[in-house]
């Protein structure tokens, strides 16, 4: 028995030691590729296009991080994760970063040992129903059958909303978005509930979008954002500041097209620091000084990402609303870059 204890102890210590030493950034650099947890296909936010390239609002954040860390926005491997598997995948190191409309809640931040590093989309949960149902408010849904994606905060909000309003419903817990959508379209449920942005994305893919309405009630706060593992603050800082760099770029009027131009002509010290022309902000968190410039070059600023993927004029057609910059009455606000 002595021997087995010895071997066991040896194995346990090596494994624990192995886990503690690895910093995510070193892993990513060594691998030459960023593993990004994405949704299983939500048009506008993260879905493969006809030729198999991932595009979308959340996807672009991953590309920006890859551009900042590796200098190449194409060096991302997208790992599609369902609502149920996403956090386990992140915790176990299957992905480096989760960028998949995940709601920031206290228990996820603490109990799940994850860190939400930013809010890239301020959302709220809504309902979509068919127009011919004759319903104009979520409070009229007493007795309705409602489809929800299982393993999400929407499940809890839904239960709370109906309880608070003293009305009943019949839940249908569905494994993923596509399945929920097809059951809703077939009429197996009266209403489909998820984040309002997700509803807009779903509606955009329906052939008869005009026959479906999104009810006015927003029943919850859903701050969606990128998530990293707890305990690697440096990696968290990298993702957070890559995101803020995109916000500051919009605030300062730096776009994908005019980065070089601005860099050559600017007199603004903050812009110089952001683009790596002065100071050593990038080096401080283990990146190149040009890291954030690369990120902006790869995907454009926050406003461009929004407009390209989900903004007005796209099939999703979402207004900036809460996601406008603070200077324009929205909530998107980056701390100073110094």
């Amino acid at each position: 028995m002595k021997k087995s204890v010895f071997f066991g102890a040896l194995a346990a210590t090596t494994l624990v030691a192995g886990m503690a030493s690895a910093a995510t950034i070193d892993d990513v650099k060594a691998r030459g590729e960023l593993l990004c947890g994405s949704s299983t296909g939500l048009t506008g936010f993260g879905a493969p296009d006809a030729s198999g390239n991932w595009t979308g609002f959340d996807v672009d954040l991953c590309r920006a991080v890859a551009a900042a860390v590796l200098g190449d926005a194409t060096k991302v491997k997208f790992v599609p994760l369902t609502g149920e598997t996403r956090f386990t995948a992140l915790q176990s190191g299957e992905v480096d970063l989760l960028s998949r409309n995940s709601t920031w809640t206290m228990s996820r931040d603490s109990e799940l040992a994850l860190d939400f590093v930013a809010v890239n989309y301020y959302d709220g949960q809504g309902f979509m129903v068919k127009k011919d149902l004759g319903v104009s408010s979520a409070k009229e849904l007493d007795g309705a059958t409602v489809c929800i994606q299982t393993g999400t905060t929407t499940e809890l909000n839904l239960a709370d909303f109906f309880k608070q309003n003293n009305i009943t419903y019949q839940p249908v817990n569905v494994a993923d978005d596509n399945e929920a959508q097809s059951q809703y379209v077939a009429g197996a449920c009266d209403a489909y509930t998820t984040d309002a942005s997700g509803l807009a994305a779903s509606r955009a893919t329906l052939p008869d979008a005009e026959n479906h309405i999104i009810l006015p009630e927003i029943i919850s706060k859903e701050p969606l954002g990128p998530v990293v593992r707890h305990g690697d603050s440096n990696w968290g800082d990298i993702v957070r500041w890559t995101y803020y760099a995109l916000l500051i770029a919009e605030e300062k009027g730096i776009t994908q097209a005019n980065v070089e131009e601005v860099l050559a002509s600017t007199t603004d010290e903050e812009v110089k620091r952001l683009l790596g022309a002065s100071g050593d902000m990038g080096v401080k968190i283990g990146l190149d000084n040009a890291a954030f410039k690369n990120a902006i070059l790869a995907v454009g600023n926050y406003g461009e990402i929004f407009a390209r993927n989900i903004g007005e004029g796209t099939s999703i057609n979402l207004a900036r609303g809460l996601n406008a910059l603070w200077t324009q009455g929205g909530l998107q606000y980056a701390p100073p870059f110094r």
Binding site: M1, K3, S4, V5, F7, G8, A9, A11, A12, L15, V16, M19, A20, G83, E84, F87, T88, Q91, S107, R108, E111, L112, A113, L133, L141, D142, G143, A144, T145, T150, G151, T152, E155, L156, L158, A159, D160, F162, K163, Y169, Q170, P171, V172, N173, V174, A175, E179, S182, Q183, A186, G187, A188, C189, D190, H230, G231
Partner: protein
């Protein structure tokens, strides 16, 4: 090689642990045992060390906190205010009910198809062979989807049954109508069937059920006594007294009386005024789809087991029975089936276990089984993957062991009695 068994006792050397056949077996066994224990210890300590490194030591406290989510199909009272433990029980019951009905239907299908596969009728034998081969050779998950999707895509929505005042005025019929004399509605959410209602029932619902149950049990007891008496008379006199009409009265008159006294009537589901049918009992589509898929899939395997069992009884047995003057159906019941059962039961147990474990595919059809509640929403909302997984493994293991021990008891009763 010469065997010298009487080695001198005082001459024990350490090398004998390897080279002496008397000790070698024990040495090897101890070594393997040590390796196995080390592996288990290594896995366990790794788990604990890693969980502690993440700051999340093993704890089952989460079972007693508020669940906060709703479940579509519940056999016991449950709301979003109930605990995660109760949500787990709800899921467990859903699993067990599905497994129970699944085993029942799979056995019925399996026995019928198994016998028909041996039919001399070419077409019947061919059709049953096709069924068996198709269902055995395509993964269960695909069958679940193939059955579930048409179930909600092709059946009418509850709305289609709606009758409005304008429709009555203009004389148009609703798009869909109820079947079986307007008592059953097949919709894309589930099948609505009549429920039982008691106008003059007891305050507590379970007392009404108990009363009816007692009456039925009493009737059965009297019926059995009647039969026993008839047998005694037959054995004594050779003439069996007529019992059929007495049995009929004893079996049904008290039941009808008590149902009338309780004010029993059927609760026929009413077409929706808002969203869903009102009244009646709903058998939800996820359950129906899972039940059909599991029964057909496992039924194909059971059919093969039944066929093999029947074929394992030698032809000589049938011929001997015929020679004794037994008719074919008595030959089957008294000679072939009892012997075939000995071969059928052991593999049948594994099929029941398979079916029970396969219920965990329920999420594919939105069925809230144990895997959907404890292993799905609870796991996800609390983030207690390891605990939830361990608990689920323990529960499935217990269910399987209980099923196999029950079936083993039955197996022993049909086994060859050696005296």
């Amino acid at each position: 090689m010469t065997m010298i068994n009487a080695a001198p006792r005082d001459d024990f050397r350490l090398s004998m642990l390897i080279y002496d056949t008397r000790y070698r077996a024990i040495t090897i066994q101890l070594f393997v045992l040590a390796l196995v224990l080390a592996a288990i210890w290594w896995l366990g300590s790794n788990l604990q060390a890693n969980l502690e490194a993440k700051g999340r030591p093993l704890s089952f406290e989460f079972l007693w906190s508020r669940a906060g989510y709703d479940i579509g199909q519940t056999f016991i009272p449950y709301t979003s205010d109930s605990t995660h433990f109760r949500a787990m029980l709800v899921g467990l019951l859903n699993t067990l009910v599905l497994a129970l009905f699944g085993c029942l239907f799979a056995t019925i299908i399996g026995v019928i198809v198994g016998v028909l596969r041996l039919s001399k009728n070419w077409l019947v034998a061919l059709l049953t062979s096709i069924y068996v081969e198709i269902f055995r050779n395509i993964p269960l998950l695909l069958w679940i989807l193939v059955i579930f999707v048409p179930l909600y895509e092709m059946t009418p929505a509850p709305n289609a049954f709606k009758v409005t005042d304008e429709m009555i005025a203009s004389g148009t019929e609703p798009a869909a109508s109820m079947i079986l004399g307007g008592t059953v509605a097949v919709t894309n959410r589930g099948t609505y069937i009549p429920g039982f209602l008691f106008d003059r029932g007891f305050e507590a619902g379970w007392m009404t059920t108990l009363a009816i149950f007692l009456v039925i049990a009493g009737s059965l007891a009297v019926h059995l006594t009647l039969n026993a008496r008839a047998r005694r008379v037959q054995e004594a006199t050779g003439v069996r007294p007529t019992t059929w009409w007495k049995s009929l009265i004893v079996l049904f008159a008290p039941l009808v009386l008590v149902l009338w006294a309780l004010g029993f009537h059927l609760d026929i589901p009413q077409p929706p005024t808002r969203f869903n049918f009102e009244g009646g009992v709903v058998v939800q589509n996820p359950f129906v789809a899972m039940l059909i898929a599991l029964s057909l899939y496992t039924g194909a395997f059971i059919a093969e087991i039944v066929r093999a069992g029947i074929q394992s009884v030698s032809r000589g047995q049938t011929e001997a029975a015929f020679a004794l003057g037994l008719r074919p159906n008595r030959t089957m019941n008294l000679v072939i089936l009892p012997q075939a059962l000995r071969v059928i039961i052991p593999p049948l147990i594994s099929q029941f276990l398979n079916l029970t474990k396969n219920t965990s595919l329920g999420i594919a059809a939105s069925y809230a089984d144990l895997r959907g509640t404890l292993g799905g929403v609870t796991l996800n909302q609390t983030g207690r993957e390891v605990e939830a997984m361990l608990l689920m493994m323990l529960i499935y293991l217990s269910i399987s062991l209980i099923i196999s021990s029950l079936m083993n008891v039955y197996n022993r009763s049909v086994q060859l009695k050696e005296r």
